[in-house]
Amino acid sequence: MSPAQVFALLSAIQAAIAAAPKAEEIINNVKNLFTSLFTAKLITKEQQDAIHSYVDAQAALYSSGIVPEALVVTPDP
């Protein structure tokens, strides 16, 4: 990659992270899952309910028939 491409990519990554800090959220999900699998720690009501709500929300979205924009295949720019 050329330096310009690297710069463009870094800018894009920075913008994406600033706009939606998903990476941190996903890493936290992974940590919680690890904790629940490999320690005898109590999985709190709040943790359970948060996961359940997330999946319920996806189920509601799926039932509505609305495909998320990020999953719609559109013509190339």
Binding site: A8, A16, V55, A59, Y62, P68, L71, D76
Partner: protein, 144 residues
């Protein structure tokens, strides 16, 4: 994205091998260990169901983050490598399809919580996991 992938790959492998080993306990009153108004369990706590949903959350959110990242930065990424969009476009419909399979299997399991129902959820989850991993691999691979 690469960091997420590095975290997820060993996680999924480990889950595949070790599910059923020492694990946490579900606090009574949570969605996977429901109780009535007197605090008496209404159903036996369901760790398998919890793990399936928790894994789904991780797999789904990681996959969606990739698709959203590409969409949000399409113009830039397309200039760098048009293949990123093309390869992700191959996965997008399948991701939606297996997402739906998992969610339908989950609805069935909620109505009739059987081992076969949980197995259906895990089968859909396994495919969704593969698709999520494939999506996560595309961006770093094509930027090399």
């Amino acid at each position: 994205m690469k960091k997420i992938r590095q975290l997820l790959l060993p996680l999924f492998l480990t889950i595949s091998i070790l599910t059923g080993c020492v694990h946490g306990k579900l606090e009574q009153g949570g969605a996977y260990a429901p109780v009535d108004t007197n605090g008496v369990p209404t159903l036996q706590e369901d760790f398998g169901y919890y793990i399936a949903d928790a894994s789904y959350q991780t797999v789904h959110s990681a996959g969606m983050a990739v698709f959203q990242f590409e969409l949000d930065n399409r113009a830039t990424l397309y200039k760098i490598s048009p293949q990123i969009k093309k390869e992700l476009d191959k996965i997008r419909p399948q991701f939606w399809q297996y997402n739906g399979l998992y969610l339908r299997a989950r609805t069935g399991y909620q109505l009739h919580p059987t081992a076969a129902g949980l197995s259906d959820m895990n089968a859909a989850l396994s495919k969704l996991r593969q698709l999520s991993e494939a999506a996560q691999a595309i961006v770093p691979q094509l930027l090399k």
